[in-house]
């Protein structure tokens, strides 16, 4: 039976084989991301519940683990209300425009040493380009709804995302200077050799800038002025219901997982193990801890997702002018200074990027 499948697989032309493998990988990653999103909503409610001395969801299934599916079913069977004065086409297409870049960016994210859908040269640029495209959905949703609250939300979100993208891009300039490559797999490989080589050590200010800008980019608390429940009801998605709202929700969480994964890859060594180079572990039952694997990346993603929720439970919402000040007047100077420091380090041949000067 197995031989038959292998033989028929071999008989396919190489193009078809390639296409099938890629499709298969895409399906795996997409389902993985969607399941992660589903369970991170549960995780979020449990974490915030714990921080506020509540129980959190505990009714559906054991430990409330069925809650995400109950939510999905509820949203699926709800009616989609399209406001009569809205721009119908853009209103429907906006949630899709938000979700697609959030999922498409996963094409270049390596999950371990060998698994990546598209191993391209300019992976870092691709990620930057796609995260910057995601803002269209929010702006169009706000405009197409034809409501003052939604429009205000869209305006806020557009200004905020454009502002923080610059700081984010600059922080990544530091990363690519240190790794000497735009390929994300190469960036992870440049951090091999234990925790001391992770970029978080050498690029700590850039790590902070990237992570906080990432939180701002995903419109999460404390930067959630685009939604701002207490001020503009729900911002850009105030008129969305049912599946259309679910798509926005999915996109927001998919973006969070993406930002967590990117931060882990750029600054925490991606799939690399924190115990790498602990040679005294060799030969003991704990030897498996030293090898880099997907589980380390997953653990790092979970850590950052937890930080997202932790921040949401801890900080009050930023005031709008303070957000702008933080983005333009604090983060951009910090990144520029640190890139200059990095250049000096490279010139003096100190640190992991000593080979950069050429």
């Amino acid at each position: 039976m197995m031989d038959f499948f292998l033989a028929s697989w071999e008989s396919l032309p190489p193009n078809v084989q390639y296409l099938t493998t890629v499709m298969f990988k895409i399906v795996i990653v997409t389902i993985g991301v969607i399941l992660t999103v589903a369970f991170s909503t549960y995780f979020e409610r449990k974490v915030i519940g714990g921080m506020q001395s509540r129980v959190g969801p505990n009714r559906v299934g054991p430990l409330g683990l069925g809650q995400p599916f109950a939510d999905v079913i509820k949203l699926l069977i709800k009616e989609i209300v399209v406001p009569s004065a809205s721009n119908r086409f853009l209103f429907i297409i906006a949630p899709i425009l938000t979700l697609v870049p959030a999922l498409a960016a996963w094409a270049v994210i390596p999950l371990n040493d060998s698994f990546v859908i598209a191993d391209i040269n300019a992976g870092l640029l691709y990620v930057l380009a796609l995260t910057s495209v995601g803002v269209y959905g929010v702006i169009l949703a706000g405009w197409a709804t034809n409501s003052k609250y939604a429009f205000l939300g869209a305006m806020r979100s557009a200004a905020q995302i454009v502002a923080y993208e610059i700081a984010m891009g600059f922080a990544l300039v530091g990363v690519l200077m240190a790794s000497g490559s735009l390929n994300i797999g190469e960036i992870v490989r440049a951090q091999e050799g234990g925790v001391a080589n992770w970029f978080i050590v050498w690029l700590f200010p850039l790590f902070l800038v990237y992570w906080i800008s990432g939180v701002a980019e995903t419109n999460r608390a404390p930067f959630d002025v685009a939604e701002g429940e207490s001020e503009i009801v729900a911002g850009f998605h105030v008129e969305y219901s049912g599946v259309a709202f679910a798509l926005f929700f999915l996109a927001e969480y998919a973006n969070m997982v993406l930002i967590s994964a990117l931060t882990a890859i750029f600054f925490l060594g991606g799939w690399a193990s924190p115990f790498e180079g602990w040679t005294f572990l060799a030969g003991t039952p704990l030897e498996f801890l030293m090898a880099g694997s997907f589980f380390w990346l997953a653990a790092k993603i979970c850590l950052f997702m937890y930080t997202f929720f932790w921040m949401r439970a801890t900080f009050p919402r930023y005031r709008y002018d303070q957000i702008m000040r933080l983005g333009w007047k604090v983060f951009i100077p910090v990144t520029i200074v640190w890139i200059a420091v990095e250049a000096v380090f490279a010139w003096l041949k100190i640190g992991p990027w000593s080979g950069l000067g050429g």
Partner: protein, 201 residues
């Protein structure tokens, strides 16, 4: 190769349709979305000739930043289309002349020059391991470094000019000093007084 050709004609066709849409849509927001689509298609065309840096930067800069600001402005403006369309007939001949001129120049550059220097339409793929970003950087920071830096200075000048044009100091305007607000600590604002409970007299 056939696959590439099919993709080329697909992207070019959508590009032309989107460009027509920019001109002919009545709603300016629709026009802008068509322009975004046109940028995406030209990025794809660049991708087909393995110029991935240019393609991604086109998306990153134009789609991700410039068009967002365009959209931002157009959504705020209440564009009166009747007034905008009034001059259509009057300006049409002028527009036609400019269009013909530009088309003639394009033919001159692409077709005639191409025949002179023996260029044909075929694209030969680069050898494996070719990195467009690296190749571009290698000439940009060595051979063309002065042109590159002059361009940077010109852009900086434009930023300074734009900011100085929009900055105005109004007398009597009250602004908040955010740095001072952020630096506030609880002990500057609240004084906690400890005192023993007093007996009711």
């Amino acid at each position: 190769m056939i696959f590439q050709s099919v993709l080329f004609y697909l992207f070019s066709g959508v590009l032309l349709l989107a460009a027509l849409g920019v001109v002919f849509f009545r709603n300016p927001v629709h026009s802008i979305m068509c322009l975004v689509l046109a940028f995406f298609q030209s990025a794809m065309l660049w991708m087909l000739i393995e110029a991935e840096f240019l393609a991604i930067v086109l998306v990153l800069v134009y789609v991700g930043a410039v068009m967002v600001l365009f959209l931002f402005v157009v959504m705020m403006l209440d564009v009166n289309l009747e007034i905008a369309r009034r001059g259509l007939v009057r300006y049409a001949p002028l527009a036609a002349i400019i269009a013909v001129l530009m088309a003639a120049q394009l033919v001159q550059v692409i077709w005639l020059k191409g025949q002179e220097s023996g260029l044909d339409g075929a694209f030969t793929p680069y050898p494996e391991g070719y990195n467009n970003t690296e190749a571009l950087g290698a000439v940009l920071y060595t051979e063309y470094v002065y042109a590159f830096e002059i361009a940077a200075v010109v852009l900086l000048l434009a930023i300074v000019a734009a900011i100085s044009l929009t900055m105005r100091k109004r007398p009597g305007l009250k602004v908040q000093n955010i740095a001072k607000q952020v630096a506030v600590r609880a002990k500057d604002r609240v004084r906690i007084v400890k005192m023993d409970a007093e007996k009711r007299s």
